[in-house]
Amino acid sequence: MTTLAAHLKERVLLLDGGMGTQILARKPTVDDFGGARLEGCMELLNERRPQWIRDIHGAYFAAGADAVETNTFGCNQVVLGEFGLAHRVEDLNIQAVQLAREVARSFDQAKFVIGSVGPGTKLVTLGHISHGDLYSSYFAQMIGLLKGGADAILIETSQDLGQIKIAVRAAKAAMAELRIERPLWVQVTVETSGTLLLGTEIASVISTVEMLDVDVLGLNCGTGPDEMHAALAVLAETSPFELSCLPNAGLPVNVDGKLVYNLGPEVFAEKVAHAAKEFNLNIVGGCCGTTPDHIRALRSKLGHWSVTHRSPSLDRAATSLYQAVSLRQEPRPLIVGERTNANGSKLFRDLLAKEDYDGLLSIAKEQQREGAHMLDVCVAYVGRNEVRDAEELLKRLATQITLPLMIDSTEVPVIERALQVAPGKCVVNSINFEDGETKALKILSLCREYGAAVVGLTIDEQGMAKTKEHKLAVAQRLVDLVVGEYGFNPSDLIIDPLTFTLGSGDESFRHSAVETLAAISAIKERFHGVLTMLGVSNVSFGLKPAARHVINAMMLYHGVQAGLDLAIFNSSKVIPVARIPEDQRKAAEDLIFDRRVDGYDPLKVVLDLFGSTSAARASEDEVARLSPADRLHRDILDGEKQRILTDVDEALKHHDPLHLINEVLLGAMKVVGDRFGAGEMQLPFVLESAEAMKAAIKRVEPHLPKDASTTKGRAILATVRGDVHDIGKNLVEIILSNNGFEVENLGIKQPVEAILAAHEKHPADAIGMSGLLVKSTVIMRENLLQMAERGLKVPVLLGGAALTRDYVESECQSVYAGPVLYSVDAFEGLKHLNAITSGEPLNRPAASAPGIPAITVLRRGTGVTELSSDGQSSWARRGLAIPEPPFWGVREANHSVEELFQYLDSFVVIRNRWSFTQGQLPDGAFEKILHEKAEPLLAKWKEKLLSESLLKPRALYGYFPVKADGDALKIFDPARSQVIDTLRFPRQKDGRRLCIADFFEPESSGKFDVLPLQLVTLGSEAAENTARLYQANNYADYFYFHGLATELTEAYAELIHGRIRRELGIHGKDAKELRQLFSQGYQGSRYSFGYPACPELEGNGPIHAILGGASIGVEISETWQMVPEYTTSALVAWHPQARYFAV
């Protein structure tokens, strides 16, 4: 008789198809299950309806399957326990295997029985069940399957790495107990997202399972065969195990509330056979929706294919729940974050003592952001329960950090608990031979059982190895034990040859770095594949921070030169070696390489170099040493508007005032502009520089000769007709006026006549037009037409959020004879103006080649959605239950400024409104700006706005009966007696053909829907304050206040919208995290006029009128914009399909 192993060596094994659908096709009744309490317990049917199960197995065997899976998918203690049948696990598994075996024997050919083990109903990594309970649940099932005589155990439909590890351990323990060896198969379910349910990428699955020593690793369920290709490709290339693939019959489609799988037998078989060939699969079959017909079709496609052997190659990696991280980083080294360590970080220790897990997590997240590849985690702290602390912290890190973990402990119980909690392939740090081998053996057994790599320290019974020879001798012993006896892959052994401090001056350690570096080279040379690691920062322990950074950086540099693979390091403190001044670098290297000679001790040089001066003091002294002109340059760059006054006074003693302005100050502003352009300086810093510039110019002006002119040219600026937005235009004014230009700022809502009148009165070198609205882009073009009619050729600069370069350079330029120049920001405008006034060639585009459209549609699969008889998109679902509002009509809400701050999107404030963008800055430097500048600034403003009464938030909201009529919403009075207004919305021309009206009940249904409306404002004082700050040349504060007030308005709208959802009872889908809530993490949508789904502003009028906006001081302008500035209105759709869309 052929064995399963022999079959798999020679031919592709055909497994069966779905079991559940076959059972359900027999329409089991309460009676079949043995009572209502037991209804749905499929495993019980092995006992109560054995003939059904025999028939299903028989049909699959007859269709050509080589093997069937037992009806035991949920036959474990957890699932059966839900039916009160936990005690029946073992014997139901035995019965199930025996049933299948009975049928298998009735065939002449060799037929096999595979024991199916499903994932159960609880996710251990998310804490739904304890590790121990899940283990016992599986153990009982494994005993049953093995006693029943299954030919292999198949742990399938796995969604959680933690669950796989437990199930594999339970299977192995059961085999050991019964002294039976059976093949162990693992199959995971990859979602359409390309990862397992919890977000695990397939590479992480492979590296994790590879350590568990199984026989088959494959895929089942989740998707159809096509969607499995990406994961199969990775498995085929890298998995050392035999490969299986059991797809569903396509992706399920919801038909009348039932999941239907659409791939018929022939197509399914075609696709699976194709995959079998392409990826050299060893085992194929089907999952949900597949039937004996699918298997029959697959058999005829496959015939009896012989297997083709793959030559996979797996990069050695450590894994987290989410990703695999190669242990060999290019460029080296792999950086192990060192701050999640109770021994190394006081902050970490204090937070641990307070059990502030959020604080501990934020340390971990910070290291992740700073570029660590792995985190070293150590919770050993005198007086605390290390096992419990490890469990509590690691279970949080496991799901909230995407990096693999290094378990830093030498305590066996701590390591075991940690390995149980962390779902991926960890690295255990560490083993040593300080007290012989006993403890090392225990830890290695755990690493084997749970699948972890291990760090070995060069410590033996003689103590810590200090010389290269001693280190090598211990390394040899580690390799013999870990690779030789325990069979680890050499690259899963990481040897740490120890680093000692050079800072103590202790003679016995002065040569230690040389020995360590030499040991690294020797280990890499002698033990092929074995990796090395150093706790780099130990080398400078006891020295001043500034000295430590330099010495650590040099030690890391030389370690990497010697072949170092991993470094435990504070990644935020990595200084590029090239940036270290030569004298510091030499001193550090001389210290590391112990280059002492008579009268020269590098340690003394290091202490002198870094001894007492702190970084800040040095910089102050540096400034003092500068010439007055250089100090001014520095003041501008640093935005020092106070200090620059005394420096101007001093500079005036030595320099001509015109020279100061034209060369020194404008020269510094040019550097500011260049840095901004290069992404090295953020807008807020630019504004501070501009403030310093303004202050300096004011101070110099009285000293200028009467006839002196310092202006390089003149520009007129205006926000165009119908547009009230002035921040962009004002930023341009700030930059131009502080770079030597005279600017006439006409203000907002300027008709072209006013602009031209100003130009006529006092001609300018250029006219700048600005505007935020989409409509403004059209008006700019109209203005240009009028200017062309008058025969004007003055250069025009255009800027604004809705403009594109293309529109300006083609549409706008084509109607005007003079240059029309797009300015993406104030500095591009400055560049144009400089070119215009100096007669340099303008940076204008070559006319683009006409003809061939660059973007071509090759295929448009889905057609245009049809409209229903109501004139609405048939895509939107109809007939949903309409929520009931708590009242009809309008109410005023009452909220404090503090409540608004709770809904503030600080990410948008800092990164977008305040323009703190990273640009070309390295992560660490930008992080510093966020922590030391942006975040404190936000805190300061919050405090200011809470204590001063600049903001007076007021809001109106209400609910109105509504009926949709084609593209319109008819709004009724609360008594439903008459239509009080009708809102009309545009409809998409193709695609889903959506219109906001589609999300409300059509008139034809006879029902009234509910339309929530809202209007929020921060009051007129806020807008006045903005103007005051600008007038006072407080550029930066003006910019900050405007940005923050804009977002607080948005926050208030978000708050009211949240209240509306709660009052309607549709808040069940509200995201817990604010970040997600701000990304529409809720049911329905809030639409404001002027945005993509309803771009015209006219709708503001009816909302304002219906809610009675005047009662809270809001007016509507002639162009339907709301006044005061920080005001916004919206209508709310509760319909679940209502999301943002563009017309």
Partner: protein, 96 residues
């Protein structure tokens, strides 16, 4: 040239390498809604089903935004992507 497959409506478009995804979506009428177009509102979030390596790399802002949102690593903000090769994207802002 790069091919862009918008999976939601099975729309296949060809565009020169380096073209921005919003330009491609606008020109072809793909069903993706853009909000701020500057990577801070999340309205245009897509899943890159194929060719993630053919998308321009993330700016720090996009990386930080998506990491705060806690989404899988195959998701991008469409407004921040330009195409460097063939890709397939699924727009996530549609509630089926």
């Amino acid at each position: 040239m790069a091919k862009v497959h918008f999976l939601t409506e099975d729309l296949l478009v060809e565009a020169p390498l380096g073209t921005s995804l919003p330009d491609i979506a606008d020109a072809s009428g793909a069903d993706i809604t853009f909000g701020c177009r500057s990577g801070s509102c999340g309205t245009c979030r897509v899943r890159v089903a194929m060719g993630l390596e053919h998308c321009s790399s993330m700016t720090a802002e996009e990386r930080d935004f998506l990491s705060q949102l806690g989404v899988p690593s195959d998701q991008r903000l469409a407004c921040q992507v330009s195409v460097q090769g063939d890709i397939a994207v699924e727009y996530l802002g549609i509630e089926p």
